[in-house]
């Protein structure tokens, strides 16, 4: 521990200056200008962590990076609740809480706060629960501490449904534990009974063992069988039948028949089969639950964006905070730099630039001036502006997106997984076979009713789909963990199945096909112009200015620069900014973003920027083609910019300037043509299209609401994970089919034996375990073998 403790302070010392470029000591971004930090936020985050003596955090992050702090947008005091007489509590959903080091940092830092009594971070659910001495009004201070470190907290109370999911998962686990306990102990007794069949066990002992088994099995079945009984009952009441109906009947019948056998002092009791069956089925159900990962809460996450507060200016100039959902048209809002707009409106006063990435997918900030239309979800970047609200709440563009997502998700929920389709066809066959067996032996075979029922029970037990229930979830769990190692997180239970069938890929441009950050591509040759421009640009956080400084290899900010929000920078007669700001008459429209530099007595210089493609974009597109998948580009960005990116990546079909609704429409049109589309997108404007597509993926850098609309999320700079998802999905699909075939084959072999009455409890136990093991073994092949191809 000693040597590593020494290394803790490294990030804040000069060690970081070793490379050609300086990396921010907090977030790891390239630093423009001088110093250890890329911005004030990172500097203060680092200072907080250092002051608390928790600098070990940076070492524990390993190859990850902390996130850049962003200003708080929500009034959390309205979400906190009073506990007892003098305490308050708050649950938060924390974006960026994705590693053990983050958990440690948050808990340790908050624990040092004198008023905070309890801070517990949950990595699996990204939840943070806080309890402190004081009133709900203190909430913003405490949450501010979380945000100052670079985490993005959101109130958790709107996602209360997740608690019910938690409760269900726990109930399933308790049932699993009870079934496991009962199965082990009943089997222990049963093995003794089976080995005594040669006559070495007396009848009294056997009956005693049967009663003992009953005493364990009956309460266990009553408890652990509830998930199946409930589901079967619900299906029957709705006039349908599902796999849980034969399971419930089989288990119940096995118990009843076995009780009768024990009472009559007969040889065979199926108590062990009943509980083992439940145990295996519960494993399948539990795995199924785990494979689902996090439930999709796209709409809820979208609504979380709306649960913020805004500053309203009254006629007399007084300001007050109001929740966004309580704004009305006509309100005057004061929007500070860094604040997200809560309603649609028109700018009344002030000039600034707005980040519209969330709404339109536009990669660069848009300049706004009095009269400009602005939309909920945009972020004000430069200077304070006043906005007259024209549409709020339900009527904003953001709410429109929410509705589109809702509609699309409803449409998709009609998708029925293969396993369910098999089960639907399988259940009636099972019922019929068991019934015919009973009638056959009773009426034609001449057996007494209880003997005939015993045989029919054996049929139900043998056909009970142990292997069938494990066949799909086990493959999903193996595929899911394999993808997780490659940085892909599956969010939907049927994601793999749907992705396996796709034949068309629709990509968004900004942030999906590209990295979403501009790079200088033209104008860097004139070194003196570049240096002069970089010195001025170092004063601005505008993405283009930052790109310019990066291209110049760092620059010291010159003093006295005046920033004209939404236009450019001015210093000593030099101007750096848009063509209009610099007085350029003939702007070139070649799809590149540009900055102009004008100097007195010198011709103007042009700096052109492009959003670079992901490094392996071209290769990934070629890989998709090789798999017979058509590729299309759909972007909200300008025509020229989209055309350039499409040409570079080798995509021949593209559309530019598409609105969120137009994207969803295009998806619907492709679906109508019989295409199965995989949509990849990252902006909130892509969310409706993601939800409308047959399957969807989104990069981990996407907005949280967008990630939640997607079936899978991938990390990293490359598009290779996308190929990996498709390959794994296709292989998983093959394995699922093989497993289902194996399970059905086993039934075909064993059912005739059961009908003939030669399946004793011992045979049933062996058949059940061996078929389950076979299916599990087959699924594990997916985790071992390397992928068949891919970038």
């Amino acid at each position: 521990m000693t040597s590593s403790a020494l290394a803790t302070s490294a990030p804040s010392t000069s060690a970081t200056h070793a490379g050609a470029e300086t990396r921010c000591a907090h977030c790891g971004e390239v630093v423009c200008g001088k110093g250890d930090y890329c911005c004030i936020g990172c500097a203060s985050a680092h200072a907080i962590i250092d002051a608390a003596g928790l600098a070990a955090f940076y070492r524990r992050l390993e190859d990850r990076h902390a996130k850049r702090p962003v200003p708080l947008e929500t009034d959390f005091s309205t979400h906190a609740r009073v506990v007892g007489t003098s305490q308050a509590a708050l649950d938060l959903l924390v974006d960026g809480l994705d590693c053990a080091a983050c958990v440690w940092l948050l808990e340790s830092l908050l624990a040092r706060h004198p008023a905070i009594l309890r801070a517990r971070a949950n990595l699996s659910t990204r939840r943070l629960s806080l309890r402190w001495q004081g009133t709900p009004a203190d909430a913003n201070g405490h949450v501010g501490l979380v945000a100052a470190l670079g985490f993005r907290p959101a109130p958790y109370d709107i996602v209360a449904v997740a608690d019910r999911d938690d409760a269900e998962a726990r109930d399933l686990m308790r049932s699993l534990a009870v079934a496991g306990f009962a199965a082990a102990n009943v089997m222990l007794l049963s093995v003794a009974v089976w080995s005594g069949h040669d006559g070495s066990m007396g009848e009294a002992t056997r009956t005693l063992f049967h009663w003992l088994s009953a005493a364990i099995a009956l309460p266990a079945v009553a408890y652990a069988g509830r998930p199946f009984f409930r589901s079967a009952w619900a299906a029957l009441r709705a006039g349908r039948t599902n796999m849980d109906v034969p399971i419930s009947i089989g288990v119940t019948l096995a118990c009843v028949v076995s009780l009768h056998e024990a009472w009559a002092g007969q040889q065979h009791a199926y108590f062990d089969s009943a509980v083992t069956l439940l145990f295996f089925l519960l494993i399948g159900r539990y795995l199924d639950r785990r494979a689902r990962g996090k439930a999709r809460h796209a709409v809820r996450a979208l609504l979380a964006l709306a649960s913020r507060s805004a500053t309203v200016v009254h006629g007399d100039g007084a300001t007050m905070q109001r929740r966004v959902d309580q704004l009305v048209a006509g309100d005057m809002l004061l929007v500070a730099p860094g604040e997200r707009l809560g309603a649609d409106g028109a700018v009344v006063d002030g000039r600034s630039s707005m980040d519209a990435a969330l709404v339109s997918g536009e990669s660069l900030p848009q300049p706004v001036e009095p009269g400009s239309r602005v939309f909920a979800g945009m972020i004000n970047l430069a200077a304070p502006i006043r906005v007259r609200v024209t549409a709020a709440g339900e009527h904003t563009l953001l709410s429109e997106i929410v509705r589109l997502v809702e509609a699309a998700e409803r449409g998709r929920s009609r998708f029925v997984a293969l396993a369910d389709r098999v089960a639907r066809a399988y259940a009636p066959v099972v019922h019929l076979t068991a019934l015919l067996t009973f009638l056959g032996w009773f009426l034609i075979g001449g057996l007494p009713w209880d003997r005939a029922l015993l045989v029919a029970t054996a049929v139900l037990i043998i056909t009970c789909p142990c292997a069938l229930a494990l066949a799909v979830p086990i493959v999903q769990v193996v595929a899911g963990s394999r993808l997780l190692r490659r940085g892909v997180l599956l969010l939907s239970p049927t994601a793999l199945e749907r992705i396996a069938r796709i034949d068309h890929v629709v990509l968004d441009k900004t942030g999906t096909l590209t990295l979403g950050r501009p790079e200088l591509v033209e104008g860097g040759a004139d070194r003196t112009a570049l240096d002069a421009a970089a010195g001025i640009a170092a004063n601005s956080r505008h993405p283009l200015a930052q790109a310019l400084v990066r291209a110049a290899g760092g620059a010291a900010p010159v003093a006295g620069v005046i920033e004209r929000p939404g236009q450019g920078l001015e210093w000593n007669g030099l101007r750096l900014g848009s063509a209009r700001f610099c007085g350029i008459a003939r702007p070139v429209d070649d799809g590149l973003s540009e900055l102009w530099l004008t100097r007195p007595g010198l011709p103007p210089s042009r700096f052109a920027f492009a959003d670079r493609l992901r490094p392996d974009a071209g290769q990934a597109i070629a890989e998709l083609r090789r798999r017979g998948i058509a590729v299309e580009l759909l972007s909200g960005d300008r025509r020229t910019a989209v055309a350039r990116a499409a040409a570079e990546a080798g995509i021949d079909k593209w559309r530019a300037e598409t609105t969120p609704a137009a994207k969803a429409d295009r998806l619907a049109a492709l679906t109508a043509l019989g295409k199965r589309v995989l949509m990849a997108g990252d902006g909130l404007n892509d969310a409706p299209a993601l939800a409308a597509a047959h399957a969807s993926i989104s990069p981990a850098t996407a907005a949280e609401a967008t990630q939640n609309a997607a079936d899978a999320v991938f990390q990293g700079d490359g598009l290779a994970p996308m190929i990996e998802i498709i390959d794994v999905a296709r292989r998983a699909d093959r394995l699922v089919r093989q497993n289902l075939a194996l399970a059905l084959l086993y039934n075909l072999a064993a059912v005739p034996l059961a009908i003939l009455g030669s399946v004793t409890p011992l045979v049933a136990a062996v058949a059940m375990s061996s078929s389950s093991l076979l299916v599990i073994g087959n699924a594990l092949r997916l985790g071992r073998t390397p992928s068949s191809g891919g970038a």
């Binding site: 053990a100 340790s108 686990m173 534990a177 306990f181």
Partner: protein
């Protein structure tokens, strides 16, 4: 055969104890955050 009268209850008791321990752990929240707990043990408080 007398040994059965001792051994069977003992086996059941042991099994029940394990079951009770598991249910206690579940109720106590030991399985709430498997990912977080895996990392947490590596960090001692400083």
């Amino acid at each position: 055969m007398d040994s059965l009268l001792v051994l069977v209850p003992v086996a059941l008791l042991l099994g029940l104890m394990a079951l009770a321990a598991f249910l206690w752990a579940l109720r106590n929240g030991q399985f709430d955050d498997p990912d977080g707990s895996a990392g947490r043990i590596l960090f001692d408080d400083e």
